[in-house]
Amino acid sequence: MSRRGLPAWLLPGAGLLWALSPLFSARPAGLNARGLGELPVLNEGRLKPLDTVARASLLELSGRQEVEGPEGSLDADQWLLTVLSRPAQADGLAIFTVDDPGLLSMAGLSEGSKRRFSFKELRGALGPIERQAQAADSLDPARRTRFQSAALNLAARLNLYVRLKNSLWPEDQASMASALSRLARQAQDPKSAAGVVELLRQLVSSPAVFRPVMTGSCLPSGFIDAGSAAMRAASGAGPSESLLAWARLRDAAADDDAASFDAALSDYERGARKACPDQVSWARREALFNRFEPFYRGLGLYLVSLLALLAGWLLKREDLERAALRLAVLAFAVHSGGLIFRTVLQGRPPVTNLYSSAVFVGWVAVGAGLLLERRYKSGLATLGADVIGFSTLIIAHHLATQGDTVEMMRAVLDSNFWLSTHVVTITMGYGAGLLATALADVALLKMAWRRGAADAAAIDMIYALLCACLVLSFVGTVLGGIWADHSWGRFWGWDPKENGALLIVLWNAIALHARWGGYIRQKGLVVMAILGGVVISLAWFGVNMLGIGLHSYGFTDSAFHGLLAFIGAQAALLVAAFAKIWRDEKQGRLPSRGRLQPGS
C-alpha cells in the first residue's frame, strides 16, 4: 500500500479509538463522584442514576456538561456532589449563563468577557429577578420582551439550583448525621422537639429535585425524598438504613474524606443491590451510556466524515473518500448503539418526544443514505447522510438542554402500539424527505456551478426518496388517523400536526404527479425536493409553534431560530443557484431548457 492510501484506515481507526475512549478513561482522583452518580434515584417520575440528574441539571443551568472550578474543571457528578455536600463552595462556581445586558446591570455585574456567573454573584439581585419573572409569567409568551423572557428563564434556573442544593438535606445543616441523631433522640424524648420542628419545616419547604431514599419497594413510589424519610424517622420509626447511608455519604463528602466516602458508597451499593438488583443495574448502565455520549460522538464522527469527503473531492484523493465512507459507517454504528440503548432503557419505541424524533430522523436518513451509497457508489449519498446525521444530532443536542430527554409518557400518548407504528412511520418519512433535500441541495450546487445537467444517479436517488417519503408519510398519517379514531373517536380533526403531515403527502404527490406528466424534469424535481424539506421542517417543528391542538408539546424558542435559519438557507440557495443558471443560459454557456435530456 502506498503512503497515500494510509488515511483510508488511519482516520476510521482514530475515530474508533475516540468512540471507545470512555472505556479507557481513568476515574478522577479524590471523592468517587462517579460511583455516587451510578446510584438510582427517582426524578421526574422515572428511576434513573444520579448522574442523569446531574447532567440534565447542569445543562439546563449552564448549557455545558462541565464547570470550571478553582482547582481545574469538574464533571457533572463532581459538581452535583459539591452542590449537595458543600453548598457554600458550589455557590462560588460560575454556572449561570446570563447574556441579557439588562439582567446583568440589574445584578450589578459588568458585561465583560464573562458569560457565566456564580450564585454568589447573582445573590444580591434575587429579589428583583424574582419580581421581574413574576411580572413576565403573567404575560402571554409571545408578548414578553427579550428581557422579560431572560428574567423568567434565569429565575427558573435559580429556583432549580436552590431546590437542588436542598434536595438531600437543608444546606445550612453542616452535618446530616448529627441532625438525624437529634431526630432519633426526639422520638424517644419529646422534650427536645423544639429544634427538630424547625429542621422538619426546612426539610419540607423546598420540593426536592430527586428522591434518593429507598424504602424497600423497588417501584418508583418506593423512593422517597429525604424530608419524608426524616418525617418517618421523627414519628418514632427512627432513621432508616438508607437515610443513614446518605447521611454518611454527605458528611464524608463535606469533610473531603475519600476513604469514608468510598466505604459508605460500597455499603450503600451493596444494600441497594440486594434490595433492588434490577434498578441498580439499570442505573449503572444508564450512567455508562451517559459517559459514552454516543450521540455527541456520532456528531463528531459525521463531521469528520463530511470533511474527509470534501477534502477527498477537492484534492482528488480516493483514499480520503474511502475513509469518509468508513467513518460514516462507524458514526452510524455509534448512532445506532445509542438509539438501541435508549429504546431498551425506556421500554418504548424509539420516538417519544421531539428530542428522540431528531435522533431517529437522522438515523433513518443516514441508514437510507448508506444503502443508496452501496448501490450508486458516487459518494453523494454519503455526503447527504453526513449532513443530515450531523444536523439532526446538533438539533437533538440543543433540545437536550431542557432537562432529561427520557421523559415519562403523558396519558394521551401512552400507547406503545401506536407510537411504534404511527410515529415511527411518520418520522421515517421525514428522514427520507430530508435526505432527498440534502441530495437536491448538492445536485443544485453542481448544476449551477459545475455547469450542466445533474448526474443521473443524484436524480434517481432523489426520485426514489420522494417516492419513499410519499408512501411513509401517507401510511403514517393514516395510522395517525386510525389512532385518533381509536382513542378519541374521530379519524381526522384538522389539528395542526395532522395538517402538517397532510401537507407533506400533498407536496410529494404534487412533485411525483408533475414528474410523471413531464411538467417538471431534473431541475424541477430538485426544486421540489428542496422545498419539500422546508415543508417537512415546518410540519416537524413549525406547527408546534402555533401552540394549539393535541400535538403541541415540546416546543422550544431555540428551535424557532434554527427553523428560520434552515428555511432561509434553502431559499438563499434556490435564489443564488437560479440566478446563476439563468445568467449562464442567457450567455449561452448552458444548454437551454428544451435541450436537457428528458427524465425517464
Binding site: 421526574e44 417520575g45 418508583p220 378519541w488 373517536g489 374521530r490 404527479h513 411538467y519 394549539i548
Partner: protein, 348 residues
Amino acid sequence: MKDSLPRRLWKLIGSLPTTLACLCGLALVVTLCTLAQPRLGIYRAVQVYIDSLFIYAPAGPLKIPILPGGALIGLLLLLNLLAAQIRLERSWRKAGLWIIHLGLILLFAGEFASSLLRREAQLVLRPGQTLSAAQDSQHVELALIDETNPSSDRVYAISEALLQRHGELSPPALPVRLRVHQFDKAMQDDAVAGAQADVEVSDVDPLSASGGRWLLSLGQPGARFLADGRRYRLLLRPRMTPLPLSVTLERFKRQTYPGTDIPRSFSSRVLIRENGRSLERPALISMNDPLRVDGFTFYQSGYDQGGVSILQVVDNPAWSLPYLACALVSLGMLLHFLRRLSLSRAAA
C-alpha cells in the same frame, strides 16, 4: 374529428393538470386553515376554509369569494379521480395505480359520509350518577317537558335550525303553540359558550304564569307553566341524544407519575345497563382504550373537579370506510413502487 363540448370538459376534468391544480389548491387551503387556527380556533377555521365551497373576503357588507374552499376542491378532485380512473389503462402494469386511486375515492367518500352520519355527544357524570342521554357540546335545543305524570316525563325537543327561523312553531305533535322572537348562540373553542331564546307560548293558563313570554338562557332552569290542565317546563339545553343504554359512573381515577404532575392515566369505572335488560355489567373506559357498545363508542375525554368524568360518545356508521380506503391505498402504493423498484433494478 373534434370532440363535443361535454366530452372536452370531461377530458379536462380528468386531466393531470386538473389533478395538479387541485393538489396545489388543497395544499394552499390546508396551509391557510392551519395558520388561521390560533386566531379562529380549530372548529371555526375548518368551517371557513375546509367545509366551505368558497373562501370569502369581507368587503363592507359584501362577501366576495376569493378562493375555492376545501369542499369545492375536494369535490373536483373526486371527479378528477373518477374521470382519470375510467380513462386509466386497464392492465396489470397499472394495477397499483388503480388500487391507489380506488382507495382515495373511497377515502373521500368515507369522509363525506361520516361528516353527514357521524354524531358526537358528551356524558358529564358525577360519581354515582346515571345518565341515559348524552349532550351535544356544539348544539342546543328548546325542550318542552310535560311533567304532569310524576313517574315519567314527556319531552318535545325543538332543534336549533327551527329556532333560527324565528316565528310561529306549531307542528301537530306539539301540545302548545310557540313563537320564537329571538335566538342567539355564541361559540367558543368548538363548544357552545352561551345561548338565549326569547319565546312566547300562546295557550298558557294565565293563573300559572304571567304573560307567557320568557327570555330563556342556557344553563338556567327555565320556565314552568300550566296549559290545558297539564304542567310544563320550557328550557334551553344542550341537544340531547338518547342512548339505548344507561351509564352509571362508579369512580373516576386520575393517576400521575410519582413526584410529578405528569398525567399517567385517566380512567372511569362505569356500569352499563342496556335497555330492556335487567343485568348491569361493569366496564373500564380509559385513555386510548374506549368502550364499544351497540354501535356507540365511549371515550375518556376529560374530567372536572370532584371526580366528575367527561365521556365522549360517538356514533359513526361510516367508521370502517377510512380503514378500508387506507388499506387499499397502502397496498396500491406498495405494489406500484415495488414493481418500479424491481424494474429499475433489472435495468441497472
